[in-house]
Each structure stands twice: as structure tokens, then as C-alpha cells.
């Protein structure tokens, strides 16, 4: 059975709190959605309700961090990466405060809330912010491991959480290492580089591509900053085409990251699949993934089309 990241996030914090008396959770009046309410039930004295006032919440966390606390912030991502991004920048990133940003409801799949709530720019924003570690786990296990790592590590961390449960990618032996990229499937025609819950859809797309005779590898990038550029380059070397796929704008996110890495070190063609510089809307998950070309089917179709196009120049690219 699959677990949603928000559930794993809350449960891991509940588990960690026993051994870590400095761990606190601050909520921006969304605990019932983010699952911070579960932490509140387990550790009422370590749960600080901050109300619908996200900027203040971030400042409070920065203040608590100066006393050795490890505050985890909980709200919808967009209210942390937009409404409160000024204090995140000035009070957390610039001071290297030990504040952890639990950014719930990212990407398009935010339970019918629509464009205001769909944070499809957060990776671009947080990646551009000096000093920020940027993590986008692919499943609940990785999420839990990232929460453990972030809690144990000094400095600001942005954790991109998906709302809904997706397939499991990892088992209990998983260990989070900042910057590590994870090959989940080998393939010789195309490498799908992805992050967050989109990675599971890429694995599905790779299966579909296989039935069409294409060999697709999948490289999971759970940490956008820092990132092991050499490992991405190494994984890319063996294939005809590299494609990034993300539930995020194609400007400045994983696509931007890989484009920057490739042009810096080993220039080659890149196809960036993602949200094409446009807004989302209220709709079912299936509708949104299809509309924005991010369902496994749509990804497989697109990749097959692109592979047809690069077929001839395959030699030149490797």
C-alpha cells in the first residue's frame, strides 16, 4: 500500500520528536490538510499554531532557530514560496537559519484548489535562492528519509511535498544523501530525468515505451540543490536522448538545472517536458496530468515522438 508524502512527513516528525527535544512544528492554519494535525495530536506542546500569517511564521521560526530549536514549517507551498518568500530569503536563507520548510500541496495535483494554490514555480524560486537545500522526494519512503536527514542537518531546507499518494519507489533500506541522483531503470534509447512524484509516472512511461520498442532509463533527482552533476552526466552518456520531466514549469526547474549542467560540461540535446509556462486550474488529477502532458501515457507519446526525431543524429549525440 502506498502512503502520501504528507502522511510520511507527519509520521516521521512524530517519530523523531521523541529523541529530538528541539524539534518543533509550526503550522499556518492548514494542519488538517498538511497532516501537521497528527503531529499536534502526538506532541501538543511541540506544535505551534501560527494562524493565517505565513510571513510571521517564518520569522518566528528564524527566532526559534537562534535558540537551538529545529522548527519545521507547515503550509501550502505557495504560501511559503510566495507569500512568505521575503522572510524565507532574508531571515532564513541569508542567516543560514536551521529552519525546515515543509511545503505541502506542490505541483498541479492539489485537490481541486486551482491555479492560486498550484505551486508550479517553487523549484525555480528556491533553486535561485543562495544557501537553500532543495529536496523533492519521489515517494513516502524517500520523503521520510529526507525529513530525517533535514532534521539532523544544520541549515535551511526546502522540502517539496506532494498531496496524494503515489506508487512506492523505495524500500526501507533507502538512505537520503543530499545531491545524490538515483538511477531507477536502465535504458539505452532515452534517459528520463525526473523529480518528485513525476518520477513514478516516468517509470510507467518507460514501461509503455518498452512495449513500443524503446528502451527508456529513468534517473530520479530528489535533490535539486546541491546536486551530483557528474552522476547526471554519466547517466546521460549512454542514451540517444535526454528528457527532463517535471510537475513544474519548464523554466528554471529540473529542466533548467539539467540544461545548465549539460551546457557547462557535456553539451547535448535536451527535451524539457513540464508545464509550458502556463497556469493550472481546478480539475481532477487525471485531467491535469493529461492537459499538461504529464501522465505516463502523454510522456510516453511525447518521448516516442522526440526519439523518432533524433533517431538519425544519435551517433553525433553520444
Amino acid at each position: 500500500m502506498t502512503t502520501a508524502m504528507r502522511d510520511a512527513w507527519a509520521q516521521t516528525l512524530i517519530d523523531l520528536a521523541g529523541d529530538n527535544p528541539d524539534l518543533l512544528v509550526l503550522d499556518g492554519d492548514l494542519g488538517t490538510s498538511t497532516r501537521a494535525d497528527r503531529f499536534a495530536a502526538a506532541w501538543p506542546d511541540r506544535f505551534l499554531q501560527m494562524g493565517i500569517a505565513e510571513q510571521n511564521m517564518v520569522g518566528v521560526a528564524a527566532g526559534l532557530a537562534t535558540l537551538g530549536y529545529i522548527p519545521w514549517l507547515s503550509s501550502f507551498a505557495v504560501f511559503l514560496t510566495h507569500r512568505a518568500v521575503d522572510p524565507v530569503r532574508m531571515l532564513v536563507a541569508q542567516t543560514h537559519a536551521n529552519v525546515k520548510i515543509g511545503a505541502a500541496y506542490t505541483g498541479l495535483l492539489t485537490g481541486f484548489t486551482g491555479k492560486t494554490h498550484q505551486d508550479v514555480e517553487d523549484l525555480a524560486i528556491m533553486r535561485a535562492m543562495p544557501g537553500m537545500t532543495v529536496i523533492a522526494p519521489g515517494d513516502a519512503t524517500e520523503c521520510a528519509a529526507a525529513v530525517r536527514w533535514a532534521t539532523a542537518t544544520q541549515g535551511p531546507v526546502y522540502l517539496r511535498l506532494a498531496r496524494d499518494a503515489g506508487p512506492d519507489l523505495f524500500d526501507g533500506s533507502y538512505v537520503f544523501e543530499p545531491g545524490r541522483v538515483i538511477p531507477l531503470r536502465a535504458g539505452s534509447d532515452v534517459l528520463l530525468v525526473s523529480t518528485g512524484p513525476q518520477t513514478a509516472r516516468c517509470l510507467e512511461a518507460a514501461e509503455m515505451l518498452a512495449t513500443s520498442g524503446f528502451s527508456a532509463g529513468v534517473l530520479h533527482v530528489p535533490c535539486l540543490k546541491p546536486v551530483d552533476a557528474a552522476a547526471i552526466l554519466a547517466a546521460a552518456r549512454g542514451v540517444r536522448l535526454v528528457v527532463t520531466v517535471e510537475e513544474h514549469t519548464i523554466l528554471g526547474g529540473v529542466g533548467g538545472l539539467v540544461a545548465e549542467i549539460l551546457t557547462e560540461h557535456e553539451p547535448r540535446q535536451l527535451v524539457r517536458i513540464g508545464i509550458a509556462d502556463t497556469w493550472g486550474e481546478s480539475a481532477s488529477n487525471a485531467f491535469l496530468l493529461d492537459r499538461h502532458g504529464l501522465s505516463a501515457t502523454r510522456v510516453a507519446e511525447r518521448v516516442a515522438r522526440e526519439l523518432a526525431g533524433v533517431g538519425s543524429s544519435a551517433g553525433a549525440a553520444s
Partner: protein, 301 residues
């Protein structure tokens, strides 16, 4: 009571009709959310009497001409109550009641949060709490600059007043003396999660009132606003307060109407329960609500 312009027939609706409309609106909220499988209940229901009074008695609007330049403006700053607004707009004739079935669906004009780029008749896009009053302020300033006589109403949640941006707007609106700007606060005593009430502490259920320890009216007055406190489920009082606000448009002081309401109002099992902030009714619950609201048929039947 209100000197509404002649071409707004709905303003002749009787108070008793307003109550019937509000009951119908509440049922449409519950059914639409049940149909789409997502949405908010508590806030739309607490605001329903306010919305009905506004759209049927207070606002000078032309549903058939939603961009009429001289219309009063209305902004639902607590945008998560969109379905309440849509239900009332449908009843008022902006679009067919049947369209409510598209709430929250892909390509719908009826987005989870109000989207002015999709639905004519919306004067702002909202959803990120705290923003609507600023837009209303800009509209009121613009009306003055353009010499237009309309009034601008903005509805906020009581939890929403925790947002700092609200207080930026409160201060600037007073500095510009915008008497033709009115904020209506839906004081339903609950927000989404809220602050758990301490044992023995006063609150709604097990949650502290968002305004506990705060005298919202006094704060607004300190910033130069007029403040009216009313029962937000009393149509007569709502219309009277809005008329009062309009009548003092020249007073150089914006008006805040603090409307005491009950979250989830109108249905026994949703009233005063924070859990119903954004829950979806089961078929049984929707039917029970229909019975309580004294409505016979299911519009979807």
C-alpha cells in the same frame, strides 16, 4: 430601504424570499461540493445570508450586463467560499443553476477559487487569503479618480484578518479616506485548523475563536474606520448596515461591518464544527441537509 436603481428587479425581493433563497443557496453549496468531490462548506454556509442580501438587495448590478461600468463591485476575499458566491450568482441570474455541476471541473468557469479571467461578474480573482481588500481599495481609488459613484464591498473571513496584508490595506484605505469602500467580515468564530481551545476556554467546539483576545472593531476604529456590528444571519440587519455604509460614502471613512455568524449555518450537523470547513457531504448527509433546509427536490434528480 435601499434606493437601488430601478433596473435591478431582484432588489424588490422580500425578506422572507431572501431566507428561502439562502436555504436554496445552502443546498446548492452542499450538492455542488458533493458532486465535485471537493470544496468548502462551513464558510459558504456562514456567508450565505450575507451573499443573498448583497446580491438580491444591496448591490447595484446587472447580471445580464456583468461588465456594466457603474455596477457596484463585490470581492469575495475569502475566496475558498467560492461555491457560496457561485450559488448566489446562479440564483441571481448570472448563469444557469445547472452550471454549478461544473464546479471544480477542468475547463469550468466555476473554479475552486474565484477566477475573474473565466467568469464574468467576478470583480477579482481570490484564493490567497488577505488580498481582496487591496484590490477593493484599488477599485475604490480608481472610482474616485474616474468620478464613478459606485460602492465597493469586500467580504473577508475572521481568520483571514490574521493576514498582515489586510492591515496594510486597512491603513492605506483610511489614509485615502475611502468612504465608498466597505469590508464585511464573516465572523463565524472558526478558521480552518485554528487554535485548539484550552480546557474551559471559550470557543466554538474545541477551537478558540480566531478573534479571541482581539477586539477587531476597536482595532479597525483605531485605524480610522467606521465599524458596524450586526447579526450576519439577519437579512434586515445586513441590508441596513450596507445601506448605512453606502450612505456614509462621503464621510471619508471606510466602513467595516462585523457580521456575527455561525460557521456551517443552516444545517445542524455542520453548524459550529471546524471539521466542516472543507468536508464533502455523503449522499445521506446531503439528503439530511435537504430535509433540514425544507427543500423537497434534489436539483440534480
Amino acid at each position: 430601504m435601499t434606493a437601488a436603481s430601478g433596473d435591478v428587479e431582484a432588489n424588490d425581493v422580500e425578506a422572507s424570499d431572501l431566507e428561502a433563497l439562502a436555504r436554496r443557496g445552502r443546498q446548492l453549496v452542499i450538492d455542488s461540493v458533493a458532486h465535485s468531490g471537493a470544496g468548502h462548506i462551513g464558510g459558504p454556509l456562514s456567508a450565505m445570508d450575507l451573499l443573498v442580501a448583497l446580491f438580491f438587495r444591496v448591490l447595484r448590478i446587472r447580471p445580464e450586463e456583468p461588465h456594466w461600468p457603474e455596477r457596484d463591485r463585490f470581492i469575495l476575499s475569502k475566496g475558498h467560499s467560492a461555491i457560496g458566491l457561485y450559488a448566489v450568482m446562479a440564483l441571481r441570474g448570472y448563469f444557469p443553476v445547472e452550471e454549478l455541476a461544473t464546479f471544480d471541473a477542468g475547463d469550468s468557469r466555476l473554479q475552486g477559487h474565484p477566477d475573474m479571467t473565466r467568469l464574468p461578474g467576478l470583480d477579482a480573482s481570490t484564493g490567497s487569503l488577505g488580498q481582496g481588500l487591496a484590490v477593493g481599495l484599488g477599485i475604490a481609488l480608481g472610482a474616485r479618480l474616474r468620478g464613478l459613484g459606485f460602492h465597493t464591498f469586500v467580504m473577508l473571513g475572521d481568520g483571514e484578518t490574521q493576514e498582515g496584508m489586510v492591515w496594510e490595506s486597512v491603513q492605506v484605505a483610511a489614509k485615502y479616506g475611502l468612504g465608498h469602500l466597505t469590508a464585511i467580515v464573516d465572523c463565524n468564530g472558526l478558521q480552518q485548523y485554528g487554535w485548539p481551545a484550552a480546557p474551559g476556554e471559550e470557543g466554538r467546539g474545541d477551537r478558540r475563536d480566531p478573534l479571541a483576545g482581539t477586539r477587531l472593531g476597536a482595532a479597525l476604529e483605531a485605524f480610522g474606520w467606521r465599524v458596524l456590528e450586526i447579526d450576519g444571519h439577519d437579512s434586515h440587519a445586513i441590508v441596513e448596515a450596507c445601506d448605512d455604509a453606502r450612505a456614509s460614502a462621503a464621510s471619508a471613512r471606510p466602513t467595516a461591518i462585523l457580521a456575527a455568524t455561525v460557521k456551517g449555518r443552516g444545517v445542524s450537523f455542520t453548524e459550529g464544527r471546524f471539521e466542516w470547513h472543507s468536508r464533502v457531504a455523503t449522499a445521506d448527509e446531503a439528503a439530511a441537509a435537504r430535509a433540514e433546509l425544507d427543500l423537497v427536490e434534489d436539483r440534480r434528480a
